[in-house]
């Protein structure tokens, strides 16, 4: 890793990362990837988020679905842990609650592969600093 020596360096890195993300989000390119974010705070892990994350990684790889599975912090929906956010190419992110193996399987089969929403979607209930 190279050191960030000036504010300009920092801005450059920010812009690079942002454009990378934007590229991933906005491009209509068919090869673009599905993004899977698993809430991996203590509450999530206590409810089995690690197993859920592993399942997504294994299953998506086995089914040759181009996807990036990452972890994130607490989404706030402790009552519905484990929570997973799926972003299909060109679409708004969708959060699912109570994602155990069965639910993950359903998410892959129905939502990721077919684009059909399934029960258990958690609507966003908050505004952010960007709103």
């Amino acid at each position: 890793m190279t050191k960030i020596k000036t504010l300009a360096d920092l801005r450059k890195i920010r812009d690079e990362v942002q454009s990378k993300i934007r590229l991933r989000e906005n491009s209509d390119h068919p090869e673009q990837v599905v993004q899977v974010k698993v809430g991996m705070a203590t509450c999530g892990i206590a409810s089995g988020a690690k197993e859920t994350m592993k399942y997504f990684m294994d299953e998506l790889e086995q089914q040759a679905i181009d996807a990036v599975v990452t972890q994130t912090g607490c989404m706030g929906y402790c009552y519905a842990e484990p929570t997973v956010e799926i972003t299909l190419p060109g679409k708004e992110p969708v959060i699912f609650g109570f994602v155990d193996k069965e639910k993950a399987e359903e998410i892959i089969d129905v939502y990721i592969k077919r684009g059909e929403l399934i029960d258990g979607v958690i609507p966003l209930t908050f505004r952010t600093i960007d709103d």
Partner: protein, 169 residues
């Protein structure tokens, strides 16, 4: 208190940890953490070595060890059981779960079973309030535990299927 002589290599481990923290008295709590992490507990003899290495009084070390609930002078059970007594768990029945564990294991909080398999402790909020009441066995979290499940949880560990313990939640 009977004096146990510590093994030479145990003393060396403690000395090494103290060196790592520059034998600084101000690092006492960090030292205690690390030693407890390594040895499992902090018996009197260990505290004496730490006091000597950090050039402080053993009374002071003992005063610190007994102040913080994280430090223990007795070894924990093979399967340490912790009941979350955070408010969220309390209002969802943690107390009943705790008394069931006490009844089943025939131990009080802070004690270990005779066979050394289980020790029982309370802790304050695991943070899995959505799963209240919560019980931890080792690192494993059991959520929404009811008193009736207690027997089953214990049985699964006792029968030695600890590698694949009861399903959580």
């Amino acid at each position: 208190m009977p004096k146990i002589k510590l093994a030479e290599n145990t003393i060396q481990i403690i000395k090494d940890i103290c060196s790592e923290f520059n034998h600084s008295e101000g690092e006492l709590i960090n030292v205690l953490h690390k030693v407890q992490h390594t040895l499992g507990y902090l018996p009197a003899e260990v505290q004496e070595v730490i006091a000597r290495e950090l050039k402080t009084s053993v009374a002071k070390v003992y005063g610190v060890v007994t102040f913080y609930s994280f430090f223990t002078m007795v070894p924990k059970g093979e399967f340490p059981i912790s009941i979350c007594m955070g408010t969220a768990c309390y209002v969802r029945g943690a107390e009943q779960v705790l008394s069931e564990f006490k009844r089943q294991l025939k131990v009080e909080v802070g004690e270990s079973t005779g066979d050394g398999k289980f020790s029982l402790n309370c802790l304050r909020c695991v943070g899995a309030c959505g799963l209240a009441p919560v019980v931890m066995v080792g690192e494993k979290v059991f959520g929404r535990v009811s008193p009736t499940q207690v027997k089953q949880i214990i049985a699964e560990y006792r029968e030695g299927c600890a590698t694949e313990p009861a399903k959580s939640a």
